[in-house]
């Protein structure tokens, strides 16, 4: 069974159960099923067929979820983009994946046109009948309104269920790329299903469950929330992006929505503990599982969570390229550790091992780079050669006596800042593109929640780029989590003896300045 068939099956079994809720609306499985069929027909009229890419750019909402399902039903591939992403970046992604259609909402519909160099339509952006005549020019991307999705109560819409193969791509998730261009991770139906089926079994998920969807839909964490819920006939409650700034509201959401399965980056949970009073109220009685992934969770907070709730605490690990490939359930002995809980052992039917620098398989007590093979490993990067079936994660791990793994750190310049994987090279390349910048180096200073992105900029001779102008330049091209927190101007970047940028020196310099200030 392929990914899109989960909703079709649950609509047959549980037509009147809630499937997805967000922005004050709730769709039953029947409504989601019918709305997806209706929107699939709109997309088909815009020329979308099997294998075509469709970019979905909007705030998290039932409409976006409907559009995802619609795209899959046509055998096409959806490419989610965060509602807060700048138009320029969405256009870059649309061009990179040669999208057939960009679906957007509100002012995004007009902002995306100039970014894509599209002509302004003569009679409105989207036609009321769903046709897209003004844009339907060969070679040009079509822009379609996400809000054109019908309400889902039309019984007359014939079902759309294009046959796809398990190894056909289902969606592409763009991640930060070291060369300065975002990379599209192409995930097949088989990849996604291997993880989703494993997660449903691990959680014992059923129709009574209510999954919180905290992660933006552009992140692989959201695959669990959406599709494990759909597989089980459960309900997924979309956390609005605006709540990212309101930890108290997030805690309220957890209680009000009677969440049974919560999955987020540890940073979100820490924010809820520190600023939202999560632990001041008793844990919701129905909360069965708290899952976290994306970065190490400081053990002190795990201890506090364990004392607060009887829910299972599960640490999941895996880059976007493999989704979740290892897992660990927190047991009392873990709370005695002085470091984060292990990332555990293989998940989702994958095989994982640690490869030493010499290329051997690391044994207990040894360190190596975590390597993954198996059903969740991506097809490859969009536009690149097909994946070899083996993915070296770039993460260094220690092999524990029981054969499971402890996370140590990254081996390259990719960093994690508050749960977001960031290739510093992409920020540097974007800084370099500023007219007044000769070169730039970006480092991370501080740890955990206090980690900050710091840019050191060497201006072109005679120029003095303003830090705010640089911020604005970045904000127009990168997601908000990649905008640097601090900018320092330098005459030259410090170098090591072999000519490489001395990044530790830059970190020390920032920390010294920061300390001197306080």
């Amino acid at each position: 069974m392929n990914l899109h068939e989960l909703v079709i099956r649950s609509a047959r079994r549980y037509p009147l159960r809630p499937a997805v809720a967000g922005e004050g609306r709730e769709l039953t499985y029947r409504a989601l099923d019918r709305a997806a069929d209706a929107y699939a027909r709109l997309l088909a009229r815009a020329g979308v067929g099997r294998g075509d890419r469709v970019v979905l750019w909007g705030d998290k909402s039932p409409e976006v979820v409907v559009a995802m399902q619609a795209v899959l039903r046509l055998g096409a591939v959806y490419v989610p983009q965060d509602g807060t992403a700048p138009a320029g970046r969405v256009a870059t992604v649309a061009r990179d994946c040669a999208a057939r259609v960009v679906c957007a909402t509100g002012t995004r519909l007009t902002r995306i046109r100039p970014a894509l160099d599209l002509p302004v339509p003569l009679d409105g952006t989207a036609q009321p009948d769903g046709t897209t005549r003004p844009d339907a020019v060969p070679g040009l991307v079509t822009v379609l309104d996400l809000a054109a999705a019908p309400p889902g109560d039309d019984e007359a819409v014939p079902p759309v269920d294009t046959e796809v193969k398990p190894d056909d791509p289902a969606f592409i998730l763009y991640t930060s790329g070291s060369t300065g261009t975002p990379k599209g991770v192409s995930i097949s139906h088989r990849n996604a299903r291997a993880f989703v089926d494993w997660a449903v079994e691990l959680l014992g998920a059923g129709p009574g469950d209510r999954f919180a969807n905290h992660a933006p839909l552009v992140f692989d964490l959201s695959v669990l929330d959406l599709y494990a819920a759909f597989a089980a006939g459960a309900s997924v409650r979309l956390v609005p992006a605006t709540l990212a700034y309101a930890p108290g509201e997030l805690v309220e959401f957890l209680h009000r929505e009677r969440i049974t399965v919560w999955y987020s980056v540890p940073s979100a949970l820490i924010l809820m503990i520190r600023g939202g009073g999560l632990l001041d109220r008793p844990a919701p009685a129905g909360l069965r599982a708290v899952l976290f992934a994306g970065e190490p969770f400081p053990i002190a907070h795990v201890r506090r969570l364990a004392a607060w709730t009887k829910a299972r605490l599960l640490n999941l690990y895996g880059p976007t390229e493999t989704n979740v490939c290892t897992w660990h359930e927190v047991v009392p002995a873990d709370l005695e550790r002085d470091r984060p809980v292990p990332i555990g052992r293989a998940a989702s039917g994958d095989e994982v091992w640690a490869r030493t620098d010499a290329g051997a398989v690391a044994g207990p007590g040894e360190q190596g780079e975590l390597v993954v093979t198996g059903p969740t490993v991506m097809l490859g990067y969009w536009g690149g050669p097909p994946g070899s079936g083996e993915y070296a994660t770039g993460d260094i791990v220690t092999v524990l006596p029981d054969g499971s793994f402890d996370y140590v750190g990254r081996r390259d310049h990719a960093v994690k800042v508050r749960g977001h994987r960031i290739e510093l090279g992409e920020i540097e390349t974007t800084c370099d593109a500023h007219d007044e910048v000769e070169t730039a180096a970006v480092v991370v200073a501080g740890e955990g929640m206090d980690a900050r992105l710091v840019a050191f900029v060497v201006p072109v001779p005679g120029a003095r780029p303003g830090a705010l102008a640089l911020r604005r330049h970045l904000a127009e091209r990168l997601p908000s989590y990649m905008i640097t927190d601090h900018v320092h101007l330098l005459d030259d970047l410090p170098r090591t003896r072999n000519g490489k940028i001395d990044r530790p020196a830059l970190v020390r310099r920032h920390l010294t300045l920061s300390k001197g200030r306080s």
């Binding site: 605006t242 700034y245 309101a246 930890p247 520190r274 710091v454 830090a467 908000s480």
Partner: protein, 88 residues
């Protein structure tokens, strides 16, 4: 409470606490703080503490959203509104 004075004080705080590494710090009341990454969720928590300390105004979580924290002017307007509500 004078909105202009509150705006100026909020700008001062942001310049000193968040933009200390910037040479120009040329933000004004309309500079988009969230959009340009000048403030984020953690820094909003620091701003909350500052507002409480400075004006004895507690910002309820329901008011912490992208609209109220869009720029220094919107933050100042919110502070003045909350202060008025307290007086009443």
């Amino acid at each position: 409470m004078n909105t202009e004075a509150v705006t100026a004080r909020v700008l001062d705080f942001i310049r000193t606490e968040f933009l200390w590494s910037d040479e120009d710090r040329a933000i004004d009341a309309a500079t988009p703080l969230l959009e340009w990454g000048i403030i984020d969720s953690l820094r909003i928590a620091l701003l909350q503490a500052f507002i409480l300390n400075e004006w004895d105004v507690s910002v309820p979580t329901a008011r912490i959203d992208a609209r109220n924290f869009k720029n220094a002017a919107s933050i100042a307007a919110m502070i003045c509104e909350l202060e008025q509500e307290t007086v009443r």
